[in-house]
């Protein structure tokens, strides 16, 4: 067994070095032609495309997924089974790649990107990751599969109201404590837009919402679908105070050493979009 893994990783090493050499070559060739950074990404993608289906996995025949599984309706862990939109998506992708989908137990959200970057534990991270340039420095994203926005939840009796600006101003005060899930775009938004408030990064959505519900924190900033779900299903004493249009998009996290897998997933995503599977999934989990 261990021998097998050793062989696999050696093979994967050769493959990944070959791939990175290819990508580097493409980059270098491009760099000599023109210095525009954006243009460089296209040939590199082409290199990945030609190497499509040539990817490495932690365990042969299995697509191992890391997720925090605490982000309903996207990810949840009900009765010890992963559930949600992202989970169905992972299963569908794995099926289309001819692999068996296996979820790791729930991981801390902020540990997933380092885990994928380091490799060896999971093949992909699929936990409602918004595509951001900072994250793209660490890992690769697949094409976006879902649009999202941010929202702020508060307790119903907090008594702030008004337009978007009035609410942001009310929250941006030194006596406000705003809970966020560590490492999320909600945290980044709060730090950028509420510099006066105390930002408290916590491990899970449930802890954040419990804190808001008990008055420990005044507000919780996170992805709008999740906030909406929490306020209607679990914490009915809370409400959405603010909808923040950010137009962010979710992508699946893949290691930079594994461009073949990114390409393969992109193909699966495009197929799902084309044959209507994606719409089915969306209506299953988000209604409409």
């Amino acid at each position: 067994m261990s021998n097998n893994i050793a062989k696999l990783s050696r093979r994967s090493f050769i493959k990944s070095s070959a791939l990175s050499a290819l990508a580097l070559g493409a980059l270098a060739a491009c760099g000599s032609k023109e210095s525009d950074d954006n243009a460089a990404s296209t040939p590199a993608n082409d290199a990945a495309d030609t190497a499509a289906e040539e990817y490495t996995l932690v365990q042969e025949g299995k697509l191992i997924v890391a997720s925090d599984l605490d982000f309903p309706p996207l990810d949840s862990f009900e009765n010890s089974t992963p559930q949600g939109f992202d989970v169905d998506l992972s299963n569908e992708i794995a099926a289309r790649l001819g692999l068996e989908c296996e979820y790791l137990p729930p991981q801390d959200f902020d540990s997933i990107i380092p885990m994928i970057k380091q490799g060896g534990k999971a093949d992909i991270g699929n936990s409602a990751f918004s595509i951001t340039p900072e994250r793209e420095l660490e890992i690769d994203f697949t094409e976006p599969y879902l649009d999202s926005n941010l929202g702020v939840a508060v307790k119903k009796d907090l008594g702030i109201s008004g337009g978007e600006e009035a609410i942001v101003n009310a929250l941006n005060a030194s006596d406000m404590t705003v809970a966020v899930q560590a490492g999320t775009t909600g945290e980044a938004w709060a730090r950028e837009n509420l510099p006066e408030a105390t930002i408290v990064p916590l491990a899970s959505v449930t802890v954040c919402m419990t804190g808001v519900s008990t008055g420990q924190y005044q507000a919780f900033c996170a992805d709008l679908p999740v906030i909406g779900h929490q306020c209607t299903v679990s914490f009915t004493d809370c409400e959405i105070a603010l909808e923040i249009p950010t137009g962010e998009q979710y992508g699946i996290v893949v290691s930079k050493d594994n461009p073949g897998l990114t390409a393969a997933i992109n193909k699966a995503l495009a197929d799902m979009e084309a044959d209507g599977t994606m719409d089915e999934l969306k209506s299953k989990w988000f209604g409409e």
Binding site: Q118, P133, G247
Partner: protein, 468 residues
Amino acid sequence: MTHDKRLGKTRFAALVTTLVLALTFLFPTGAFALTTNKATARPNEKGGSGVIGGLDTRLTWEGTVEGGEQVSSIVLTLPGNGSFDGASTKITALEGLSRANVEGEATAAGNTLTVDFSEPVSEGLLLRLEVEGMRFPSEGGDIVVSGTYVNQSGEQQLADSKPIKTIANTALQQMVAALDASPAVEAWNSNPFLGMFFKPQLMLTALFSLVPGWLLCLMIVVIAYPFAIILGLIFALMKISKHPLLRGIAIVYINILRGTPLFLQIYIMFFGLPMMNINIDNNVLGVIVIAINASAYLAEIFRAGIQSIPQGQYEAASSLGMSYFQTMFSIILPQTVRRVIPTVTSDFITSYKDTSLLSSVGVMELMMFSKNLTSVSGNMTPYVAAAIFYLVVTLPLIKVVTIVENRMAHAERGGGHRPKAKTAAAQGDSQDESSAAGTAVHAEALEPEASTMGSALTSLSPATAQEV
């Protein structure tokens, strides 16, 4: 600046611009067909929340296209030596909360950024420009993002954004920049393990920015511990008392607190108390949780310590006509203290480390600061820096425990700590004691005063311990 350039180009443009400017002054906000909603910058101070000029950060600019308008391009302008060079721009257009399909190309030239849309952006859309890798003027200050835009009737002035607070570069950030530039550091970071856990730049910033969290940890445990000792002692005495009710209360208290994870106790206190409308400051609550938790462990340590004192001591004390409390406080407990010091120190170390669990409920202690840094950087180095802060306190304490334990073992073997006039002196130089033991006993025998009764009884303990 752009404005001046264009003036030179054509008269027509000049005319339009003046007209627009005049209109702008006449109708301060209503005249903008593209209203500036906001401009914010991502904090780029490592381990802090400031926006530093001259260093890469991200500018988020938002504007709404008003009714009846179509915007075909936008120019954003920064004052001073602010720069968009090398920045990448993400263009998002939203109609309400859903994305609209808008494509465009951004070109940066010094302090201006021009965004040309492939098709004019129609009314009612919220335009969001995220410019990653831009730099504010290096001298800092309140920065206003201004600019122009083009609609169907020509170029218009953009409303100034609210000022963004920025600061000049700090000495720490300059050191970090120096590390960034060093090839040796780059080579070090290219190793995945070293780069992930021991990145020098982050280590430096973390060591500085974790200090407030470290002080809070120390403060919590230092304040909590005396309370824990008092509580622990009370419950220890209750547990060995003959009164069944007192004993029962102590047993329940100790067993529940020792038998459940501290994590759970923290959650119950932090989320449970507010539900009962008891609102206490987070830090105070932290002190209370740590004190209560430690008191249960200390109670057991004290109980074991008290019960390890041989029965002969009680008998000797009562033969002198001492009451229970006299016996306890002047005979038994002083001897217990000496015996429990190593275990209590270990427990102190545990409590100090346990403060890390308070980060899960938002107490701004050491782990919280490291978690902040880690979530911003995606790197584990801040946790290693936190480990250093824990070790700074725990290593010396562990050393103390070892020394005390060695001395005690030495004394148990009969090597030291013979009866002597002053017990305090005996602890200081137990090494020399073995040779001078004979004289010490002699001296003790010559001083039959009541004040030395305690130490006289102490001298009995090794002998009685062997008998029992």
